[in-house]
């Protein structure tokens, strides 16, 4: 028999990870889900940046570069001071890669994780598998955490893969114009490692709570859209601020997001009830 990993919280992490892994395994089998999501990630991380950066750095359309250069003047002075590049093309490419395209990294994982999370609990109920979980020894908090991890993982995985490809693209297309490989910058690392995860967690804690309460996957998707949209906007603006900002600003934004995420997650832990997995709680 395997060793049980039980933290001071009383959660059995073996079971949490089992639930998460099983959900992910099912997701991998669902081509109708991950193919559109992969396309979404490709558009934001590969096609759009590649087209824009290639146009600016290689085609050398003077008009386009000039217009883009003018746009850069609206950036905060702290951001403008960071822009590197020997030529107008290089500076424009740098600014585009580091500042203007950056927030897409927030939109993609939040969209993917929201789509997974919205159906995760209500989906168990709709498929009838909630009955199995409801009768199982798994604690409802373990079920919640398992579902959270299973929803978080695809979004964050997309970020890691997308970010890696994006970094390669940026360095290959803009690097020669600014004297070598420069991406990711320090702010980008902070955003990916410190700022993005709590925003994902906040969004998912709300989405999972909805998923535990609504009566159908369709309703969960609708409601999650309403909840996640403002969060995406906030995350977008905050991540932009992180990249533009200097000093401790990114650390502070991330820290506040982590506090909110922990509060939201601890409240979410109470949202799953066995009866809700069976679909009988609403009237109960």
């Amino acid at each position: 028999m395997s060793t049980t990993i039980r933290a001071s919280s009383g959660l059995n992490w073996n079971r949490v990870m089992t639930i998460a892994k099983t959900d992910l395994k099912q997701l991998i089998q669902a081509r109708d889900f991950w193919i559109p999501m992969m396309l979404l990630g490709s558009i934001f991380f590969i096609f759009v940046p590649a087209t824009l950066l290639f146009t600016i750095t290689n085609i050398g359309d003077v008009d386009v570069v000039e217009r883009m250069s003018e746009t850069l003047e609206v950036l905060p002075s702290s951001a403008q001071a960071q822009i590197q590049g020997k030529s107008a093309e290089g500076k424009t490419g740098y600014a585009l890669a580091v500042f203007l395209l950056a927030p897409v990294v927030v939109i993609v994982p939040l969209t993917i994780s929201t789509a997974v999370g919205a159906s995760t609990i209500v989906g168990e109920r709709e498929r009838g598998t909630g009955e199995f979980l409801a009768h199982s020894p798994a604690d409802v908090r373990e079920i919640y955490m398992g579902k959270l991890i299973a929803s978080l993982a695809p979004g964050y995985f997309t970020v890691v893969v997308g970010f890696t490809i994006y970094s390669l693209l940026v360095n290959l297309l803009v690097g020669p114009e600014v004297g070598g490989w420069f991406f990711p910058t320090q702010q980008w690392w902070i955003m990916i490692v410190w700022v993005l995860p709590p925003f994902l967690a906040i969004c998912l804690s709300l989405v999972l709570r909805l998923s535990a309460r609504v009566s159908s996957t369709a309703a969960a998707q609708q409601a999650s859209g309403l909840v996640s949209l403002p969060l995406i906007m906030i995350a977008y603006s905050q991540s932009t601020g992180v990249l533009f900002g200097a000093g401790n600003m990114p650390i502070i934004v991330g820290g506040l997001a982590w506090v909110l995420a922990i509060i939201s997650l601890s409240r979410g832990l109470r949202s799953v009830q066995r009866s809700r997995l069976l679909g009988v709680a609403a009237t109960g």
Binding site: K25, H135, S136, S275, V280
Partner: protein, 347 residues
Amino acid sequence: MALSDHFDVRLRTVSKSFGSVDALSSLSLELVRSEITVLLGPNGAGKTTAARVITGAIEPDTGDVEVFGVDPAGPDGEQVRRDCGVVSAKPSLYDRLSGLDNLRYAASLYGLGTGVEAEARIVEAAKQFEIDADLHHKVGGYSTGMKTRLALARAILHRPRLLLLDEPTSGLDPESSVAVLAMVREMTADDRTVLMCTHLLSEAEGLADQVIMLEGGRDLLNGDPQSLSQRFWPSPSIDITALHGPDLDRMALWPEILSYDRVEATAHVEISDDTSPADIILRLAGDGIRLDSIMPFRPSLEDLYFAVRAERRAPETGSDETPPVGESPKSGRGELDRSRPTARSAQ
């Protein structure tokens, strides 16, 4: 408070409502250790809710639930659920996963882990339910019978002390139903306590050590099938078919005949304890009545079920046709006779 050695499960005046619907209404029941208890009742009688209350999946509004001496909805509920194996009416399997992955998932959740022992248990359970050859296929491609067998294998994987089977033959063809019921019988060979919910009386026949009949979330009656039959039919009964049915009507006046009821050529008669069926046959033959068949009446659970329901309806409708429990129905099977004349004539 610990349960006595005799019972694994005890529900006392348990009620549960969903909105305005009373799923359980002051239900009390006890499951005797190592016995098969069958919860009988029509759809909506509260069978599934009772099973869910036992594992703690649903908390009752009022009343006490004890399973292995523990409240399953309380902080120690995990202990209870670890010792329960559940097969629900819908098999609750993950269609996108293989049969093997479904079993591995259960093994891990129930604390068997992922090691050699867990794998050995999986193979053993799969072989027991003859699903081992299909374990690597996705469950979405399984037939209903295969899904049920996989669900049964999953339910016993962790060797539970209590098995809860909620209509395990639901949606199966007759051949698969027979096979699954045979498997259920095998599952009880290891001294497990079993609760099986069904609305099919034929399934409970010969399987149940104890029968609990539910209706509207209440228990109509409970006990072992033999003593329940004894309560409703305390005296021996026989079904006699004559070539000319009305010839049998003279029996109604004989003192040793306690009740007489004829449908077409067949009479159902209840005879006094000190009379043997042979005496009746001899007397009929002596009167020159030509008999076609004589069958001792052995009440089935179906007979019992209809008799109980008839008895319950009698006070509501003000009918005095059906006597109280423990007394012999004056007209034999009374209400039952009128509800199923064809079956009786055929005997």
